[in-house]
């Protein structure tokens, strides 16, 4: 359970998980926010209106996967850094994830780094494709990482300096 361990298992996402079919059809946001807390900035973040407006500030976010085009604007709007973009068919062999990143040094575009899962375990190597800065929140970067396809629902972080 996420409350005992501090990280969630995929099944805990339940219906918040994009379907296999949706994952095949282009980039999509995965919002890993399943605990009711008083927080709602994500509801105004999506230009496509894919994140449902909250009835109550303690609601958890719900996303309409058909409206979401994986642009990633919601990533930097989330104070909990809980939103990720998963693009399974980025290329033939690689998936692409977009993650929020607030550490120094800022990753270098083109460089390879260790890929970490939700527990911080190293599970592979990823290549940074782009480091994006959003004007409204310049200190939090959105990092685009090309990763081995099978890791697209596991990889959620990178570590700089320990690439094996």
């Amino acid at each position: 359970m996420y409350k005992d361990k501090g990280f969630l298992e995929l099944e805990e996402l339940g219906t918040r998980l994009p379907s296999e079919n949706r994952l095949e059809n282009g980039p999509v946001a995965v919002i890993e926010c399943i605990q009711e807390i008083p927080c709602n900035p994500c509801q105004d973040a999506c230009p496509k209106g894919a994140i449902k407006k909250f009835e109550h500030i303690n609601d958890t976010p719900e996303i309409n996967m058909d409206l979401c085009n994986g642009c990633g604007l919601c990533i930097s709007a989330c104070p909990g850094l809980a939103i990720f973009i998963v693009w399974k068919n980025y290329s033939e062999n690689e998936a692409l994830i977009k993650i929020p990143y607030e550490l120094l040094p800022i990753p270098t575009e083109g460089a390879q780094y260790s890929l970490l899962d939700r527990t911080g375990e190293i599970i592979g190597i990823g290549r940074v494709v782009k480091v994006q800065t959003v004007k409204t929140n310049p200190k939090s970067k959105t990092v685009w990482i090309a990763i081995p396809k099978p890791l697209c629902m596991e990889a959620r972080n990178i570590r700089i300096g320990e690439c094996k």
Partner: protein, 364 residues
């Protein structure tokens, strides 16, 4: 120095600043007293984006909220600000508040109304060898890192997984420290899951049902001995293990800074859910002493977002108690109350709702 004000506010954190801003618009003479050499209270150390709703600055980093509120407060000419000043005592017979500025100037202040927004102090933890250098409160670590730019240690064990423990662990990593573990006596993580998830995916383990048995080291911290806890919160003998570290950071809760409320003859009650002794109050945040209002952590330990809302409510209530009514501020107060109620309505707010039910005489 002797002076008279309509309203004195003690504490220039999120609650006190919001009280000041709501009073700034009234034209009343207001004195704001702050212990630190700057305004903002704990906001100045908060580098993370705030939660809540956009009306309460959600998505803005805490220190930026502090700057905004400070600038707004300083724009009012009817607000006098005393920095580096400690409100040290109240004498009811003379209605005199003593405040010591820069350790040298003693102010004798009289007032019609007073708002206590003194905040909270950190709780400490009893364990063997807990007085050696290298053991810090999480608030002290935040001050060293984020106010003075000093990293207190390289290898840190954090005790407590509430929001402060999780956030300070994250900030320690951002500042370049290695957080070896977060330990938590309860069976579940105390703070928001999303804060915990941020730390976990950086590789920091969170050990629940675990406490600290002793600190290791003579001159300074060299490590800690951890031990498991059972369902009855007893240490389980034989489960001791040692973790090497040079810093131990305690984040085990806060207590309201309520001493002045006793001197102001407010009726107090010990409410564990609110962090300690708090004043009995009504929904306007007026205590049993009709000249005393409270806001923020001193009224019960909660988040900065609720402190800001309470500050606004207490400021407007204070103005109303001095006969200043206007439609706009009445509306602002109603909205603040609605926001507070909404924030506290969820599962997370259960504890605070229970605590408040025991102190709010006329709570609706």
């Amino acid at each position: 120095m002797q002076s008279r004000y309509d309203v004195v506010i003690i504490g220039g954190g999120p609650a006190g600043l919001c009280s000041a801003i709501s009073l700034g618009k009234t034209g009343l003479s207001v004195l704001l007293i702050e212990r630190d050499p700057f305004l903002g209270g704990q906001l100045v150390k908060q580098t993370h984006m705030f939660f809540g709703s956009k009306e309460q600055f959600a998505g803005t980093r805490g220190f930026q909220i502090g700057t905004k509120l400070t600038e707004q407060t300083m724009s009012f000419h009817n607000i006098t600000i005393l920095l580096d000043t400690i409100a040290s005592g109240y004498y009811p017979e003379e209605n005199i508040l003593l405040a010591l500025q820069n350790d040298t100037i003693l102010h004798r202040i009289s007032f019609k109304k007073i708002i206590l927004a003194t905040g909270a102090s950190e709780k400490f933890l009893l364990f063997e060898n807990n007085a050696i250098p290298g053991i810090f409160g999480a608030g002290a670590v935040q001050t060293l890192m984020n106010v003075f730019g000093v990293l207190p240690g390289k290898e840190v064990v954090m005790v407590g997984s509430g929001n402060i423990g999780l956030i300070v662990s994250y900030q320690l990593i951002q500042a370049g420290a290695h957080v070896k573990a977060i330990i938590e006596a309860a069976p579940t993580v105390g703070g928001y899951f999303v804060h915990a998830a941020k730390i976990r995916r950086l590789g920091v383990p969170i050990f629940t049902k675990t406490t600290i048995k002793r600190a290791i080291g003579n001159e300074n911290v060299e490590g800690v001995e951890l031990i498991d806890m059972d369902e009855k919160w007893n240490m389980v003998a034989g489960t001791e293990r040692q973790v090497k570290c040079d810093t131990l950071c305690l984040s085990v809760g806060l207590s309201p800074l309520s001493e002045l409320l006793y001197q102001l003859r407010c009726e107090m009650k010990y409410i564990p859910e609110l962090g300690g002794s708090v004043a009995i109050r009504d929904v306007t945040l007026k205590t049993t002493n009709p000249n005393v209002f409270i806001a923020g952590d001193v009224a019960g330990i909660e988040e900065a977002s609720s402190a800001m809302l309470e500050g606004t409510i207490a400021g407007i209530s204070t103005a109303e108690s001095l006969g200043i009514h206007n439609i706009e501020s009445k509306k602002i107060k109603e909205e603040a109350n609605q926001f507070l109620e909404a924030m506290r309505a969820g599962v997370i707010g259960e504890k605070i709702r229970y605590g408040l039910s025991k102190v709010e005489g006329s709570h609706v």
